[in-house]
């Protein structure tokens, strides 16, 4: 099972509960089809570097999971269909990326400053 990472940006117009519910809907799609969610990271409302769909802030959510390959297409169709999702990005993780994420999760970068953390 390949490891993937998806970043979802939701419109800031919806309240926090509905945002959480949208995110829960997608993680449900993942778990129903045999994916195994490793980590969910919620960045909340963040300012965008440029306006997306005329909005200057977005509700960010990051999901890291192990999934069979063909599930990604199904997930992306759902993401495109839901108009509350402004933008999404799915990345497949190679061994360096997974090692990096594990190190980050185990807090190996706490002592170093944030800028140095890409070690």
């Amino acid at each position: 099972m390949q490891q993937y990472e998806t970043v979802i940006i939701l419109t800031p117009l919806l309240s926090v509960e509905t945002a959480k519910e949208v995110v829960a809907k997608f993680s449900k799609i993942l778990t129903d089809n045999g994916a195994e969610i490793i980590q969910e990271d919620n960045w909340g409302l963040r300012k965008l570097a440029y306006p997306i769909e005329k909005k200057s802030t977005g509700y960010y959510h990051l999901t890291e999971y192990k999934a069979p390959g063909e599930l990604i297409n199904k997930l992306e169709v759902e993401l495109r269909r839901d108009e509350r999702v402004m933008r999404f990005l799915t990345i497949s993780l190679d061994k360096h990326a997974t090692a990096y994420n594990d190190k980050k999760r185990s807090g190996a970068f706490q002592k170093k400053t944030k800028t140095e953390e890409a070690a």
Partner: protein, 87 residues
Amino acid sequence: MAKDQIQYVTAPKVEDNRKKYCRFKKNGIKYIDYKDANFLLKFINDQGKLLPRRLTGTSLKFQRKVAQAVKRSRHIGLLPYVTDSLK
């Protein structure tokens, strides 16, 4: 007084001869995280454009990874595509 009337036709090339090195190979960095915007700020100029290898000194392999990471972070709105005063 003749000396100070010398005008150079082309700008004198200032020699920046400190040894450039690829910081990824040196620090043993293997993966460049596209979500870490303030680390990627080091590789773009104040217009948001990617810095060339001759200025940053990174090796070709990691310059491609940096370029891909910057383009991904631009896509998800962490870095601007173009701006006038980034830093």
